[in-house]
């Protein structure tokens, strides 16, 4: 039974449970509602919750754990000697899965019966051509042990599926029976279902924690794996980035960090003055009408997907800068450059600076302004000497958030900054960033266990820590600032 159908059956059972529970409660008291502890719906609700939730939870866990268990069991069936030269166990297991899938297709087409399949042997029949018939392309001829593993994989997966169906239905029915038999007029159905519900709410809010743990674990594990394959001092104390997929790569983080910081610095140099002045103008000078139009329009900039900015950098800004600035000045002839990516990213983060600064300037108490005006200050003097100093911590927080955004930005730099890792001062040269290299190292068709691929996790961890520090700092500053005037 497919998981989708199974889930539907469980849901149907839960629905039925609701009506049955309600009906049973009403029947017990002969329609005299006063004799029930809770409203009849709550009796139904307990049955529905006890039927559906544990069964679906079990199913989700089963689906998550099953492939891992099967993988380890089957993978031990293949002896070390049968692994082809230069291949790894992971690649062979991928073959096993594909053969199993191919066998399924052959059976589904009725080209072979289950019995003849179990007699089929890799050394007697040409598996490769039969697989090609059903659209499964295999790189080499199939080893007998691999084929046996594929058959076992098919068999175990089938068994596991039956097991999951049985277990899920058993849990659903058990919950159904348990909740139904608990129904008595004095049963506190409302309290029980409300407690149940509250645990569901808690579980939902734990997803956020789970995500963080997941991020940290997946980054840390693979980073440790990376440093087992590649010396850490090379990663931190050398200056060249030159991955070679044949081995012997030089993977230093510094050219990437330099590119990231350079692009972000240019972006902030654009976004901070523009965003800050725009925020001051909109908060202090603009009429209500202008503000009502300009503020949402500026925020549109934040709502545009980054791939759009990336394309803008690639087809408009890059060639423009190359033809009008870089080439006449003799600074380079590449259309993707730090300047291109920085300028476009600067435009993107203008609203991050302006919206948050605008809120913060608005939170400065009016009495400070009135006092300044009363002393004879002009409006700009008030802004410069009273409002900005008062709002400074909040504005710094806004800039830090914008900086973290700029450092983690991916698509603009992938399309605008180039791919060459360089330590150069020339802003019209193509450079690369941490995020660009994460994408390029993980999207190629490479073996997953090589240092060239795993370095992406080390880069990801660097990025995560970097942005985390900036975010926490910004949050603390902004929070403190808000308290100051509340």
């Amino acid at each position: 039974m497919t998981p989708g159908l199974l889930a539907l059956i469980v849901l149907a059972l839960a629905c039925g449970g609701f009506f049955l529970g309600r009906f049973r409660a009403l029947q017990m008291v002969g329609k005299d509602l006063r004799l029930l502890h809770s409203l009849p719906g709550y009796y139904g609700q307990t049955v529905a919750l006890f039927t559906g939730v544990p069964a679906l939870a079990l199913m989700a866990v089963w689906l998550l754990v099953q492939p891992i268990v099967i993988e380890t069991r089957i993978s031990s069936m293949i002896p070390e000697a049968d692994l082809p030269q230069g291949s790894s166990r992971d690649l062979v297991m991928a073959d096993v899965r594909r053969i199993a899938y191919g066998l399924d297709t052959i059976l589904a087409r009725g080209a072979m019966s289950e019995a003849s399949l179990s007699e089929m042997r890799a050394d007697l029949s040409d598996i490769r051509s039969r697989m090609a018939d059903v659209g499964v392309a295999l790189g080499a001829d199939v080893q007998p042990s691999v084929f046996e593993a594929a058959k076992a994989w098919r068999h175990t997966t089938g068994l596991a599926r039956v097991g999951m169906t049985a277990a899920t239905l058993a849990v659903a029915l058990a919950g159904f029976g348990f909740a139904t038999f608990r129904i008595r007029p004095e049963f506190r159905a409302r309290n029980v279902s409300e407690t149940f519900l509250r645990w569901l709410l808690i579980a939902a809010s734990l997803v956020a924690i789970g995500t963080t743990i997941g991020i940290v674990l997946s980054l840390v594990f693979q980073t440790v794996h990376f440093f087992q394959l590649y010396p850490a001092q090379e990663f931190f104390f050398s200056l060249t980035w030159n991955p070679k997929f044949g081995g012997g790569s030089e993977l230093s983080i510094w050219p990437l960090v330099w590119g990231t910081l350079y692009v972000s610095a240019i972006a902030l140099a654009v976004a901070v003055p523009v965003g800050l002045f725009a925020a001051i103008y909109l908060a202090e000078y603009a009429s209500k009408k202008v503000r009502g139009i300009a503020k949402p329009l500026l925020e549109v900039l934040a709502g545009i997907p980054t791939i759009v900015y990336g394309l803008f950098a690639l087809i408009t800004v890059g060639p423009l800068l190359r033809d009008w600035v870089a080439q006449p000045l003799g600074l380079g002839s590449s259309s993707s450059s730090v300047m291109t990516a920085g300028l476009v990213m600067g435009v993107m983060i203008i609203p991050f600076v302006s919206s948050l600064s605008d809120d913060i300037i608005n939170a400065v108490p009016q009495s400070l302004r009135d006092g300044s005006f009363a002393m004879g200050a002009t409006q700009s003097e008030t802004v410069k000497q009273v409002i900005l100093p008062a709002a400074l911590p909040g504005i710094v927080g806004a800039i830090l958030l914008a900086a973290s955004r700029a450092i983690g930005e991916t698509m603009i730099v992938v399309l605008g900054a180039g791919a060459a890792a360089k330590l150069s001062m020339n802003p019209f040269e193509a450079m690369t960033t941490v995020t660009v290299k994460i994408v390029s190292q993980l999207t190629g068709d490479t073996e997953f266990a090589s240092p060239e691929t795993l370095v992406a996790f080390a880069l990801g961890l660097t990025l995560f820590v970097f942005t985390l520090v900036l975010n926490v700092l910004a949050l603390v500053i902004v929070r403190k600032y808000r308290e100051q005037y509340e």
């Binding site: 998550l64 409300e194 939902a204 545009i304 700009s380 698509m411 975010n471």
Partner: protein
């Protein structure tokens, strides 16, 4: 002791140098502010107009209307009109028929004396025979008749009419020659070759590097829709449940504080980190299939959750305590108060936040690249629920994919896809604005 010097008395109507300087500074400051707002708005206008300018072309495509004789001898030699039997005629056969039809027209009107049939055939898209074949197989009775069929012109011919390909560039190009372009020009003068609306751009799957004319967004749009539906079904209930707990039930202690800081941080984690999580957790650890909409949707769900929780909490918080107190006062339990009274009043705010979060997820590219959605997918994913495990693409990833190709015709496609993406976002955001305007209550 020195006397404090008093300034000479002067009229208040004449500004002194210092006042003038202060007023000038004031004026300058104001101009900086206007300039800043103007720069921001200008950037928006330039950005949108550049994308619109280069992308509108993708919605129009050069087509040749040709009278094609579907030769029964070539397509169905046995004459049974049985689709299974006719499937033996490959696209090569259909390609020859189309070329023959075009050649007949060219010779009849004497448009290109001396041009070889192969060169004439190169004006036609390599994808065109497949379309004709599908049509004939779906309707075998067409065999033996002559039909007028709109054939896609090749990408270079299309580029010529859109100004991308010139006579000079064609002279250097191995795929097209200036003579062929002159022929195309004459065909246009005859009214056979024209730019027509291109519905295929929205429905076709992606096409290979050499056939930009037939590349479309079909698979990407379908993949994006699958993902958005799953994200909505997962992120909205989980997000709302988490917000209700945090806002209404959670006791003030270290643990809930931890969750709160966590949520705030997750909202600011770079999206590519979620891609790494998806790759490591869902694909490598749990063994889910690469480039499937399900994995994409799970990654986007985790990314969208904090972006839904934050506005939902704000919406719950905005419901005045008097509502809660009134409900509690007439004997409702805490859960009843929240689910029967507070939550319904917060629904407009929650939906607005959810739609905006969903719009962000729709435009997100980086995490999807890492989970393999960047692969070339030419087959539509199957119908749900199994279809969510088939490989698919997504609109932003398709845009990225097209920018990586050499033929400039794909830049036009990418910009066109951005227009589609922006239309989706515009619709979603307007929905959010309308919801807010119409239902939001100010207490």
């Amino acid at each position: 002791m020195t006397m404090v010097e008093t300034p000479a008395p002067r009229s208040l109507y004449t500004a002194d140098a210092r006042t003038k300087a202060r007023n000038a500074a004031e004026k300058r400051f104001r101009i900086y502010g206007i300039a800043a707002v103007a720069i921001g708005l200008l950037a928006l206008v330039v950005l949108l107009s550049s994308v619109l300018g280069s992308g509108l072309g993708a919605f129009r495509q050069s087509v040749l209307s040709l009278p094609i004789t579907l030769d029964a001898k070539a397509l169905d030699p046995k004459g049974h009109r049985d689709p299974a039997e006719m499937a033996k005629a490959t696209t090569v056969t259909y390609g020859k028929l189309i070329t023959k039809a075009l050649e007949a027209v060219v010779i009849e009107k004497n448009l290109a004396p001396g041009m070889k049939s192969k060169q004439i055939g190169e004006l036609i898209s390599k994808e065109a025979p497949a379309g004709l074949r599908d049509m004939v197989l779906a309707n075998p009775s067409l065999v033996g008749t002559t039909i007028t069929y709109d054939v896609l012109a090749s990408g270079r011919v299309d580029g010529f009419f859109k100004g991308r390909v010139t006579m000079e560039s064609a002279a250097l190009d191995s795929n097209i020659s200036p003579e062929q372009l002159q022929l195309a020009d004459k065909l246009r003068a005859e009214g056979m070759l024209k730019l027509a609306f291109n519905p295929g751009f929205l429905t076709n799957p992606d096409a290979s590097e050499l056939r930009p004319e037939s590349a479309g967004l079909g698979v990407a749009i379908l993949g994006s829709i699958y993902m958005m539906v799953i994200v909505l079904c997962l992120a909205l209930p989980i997000g709302v449940a988490a917000s209700i707990y945090l806002e209404e039930f959670a006791p003030k202690n270290r643990f809930t504080d931890l969750i709160e800081v966590n949520v705030a941080n997750l909202a600011a984690v770079p999206s590519i980190v979620y891609g790494i999580l998806g790759l490591a957790a869902f694909i490598n650890f749990a063994g889910m299939p690469q480039s499937s909409p399900l994995v994409g949707a799970l990654v986007l769900t985790l990314m969208t959750l904090p972006r839904i929780i934050i506005p939902t909490r704000a919406a719950l918080n905005a419901v005045p305590p008097s509502i809660r107190e009134a409900a509690l006062g007439v004997g409702a339990s805490k859960t009843q108060t929240i689910f029967h009274h507070v939550l319904p009043l917060a629904v407009p705010g929650i939906l607005t936040g959810a739609i905006i979060g969903l719009a962000q997820a729709l435009g997100e590219t980086a995490p999807l690249l890492l989970i393999g959605m960047v692969a070339f997918v030419k087959d539509y994913p199957g119908a749900p629920p199994e279809g969510v495990l088939d490989p698919a693409s997504a609109i932003p990833v398709q845009i990225y994919n097209w920018t990586q190709r050499a033929d400039p015709a794909f830049v036009e496609r990418a910009s066109g896809a951005i227009i589609v993406l922006l239309v989706f976002l515009l619709v979603m955001n307007s929905l959010a604005v309308i919801l807010r305007r119409k239902f939001e209550r100010r207490w």
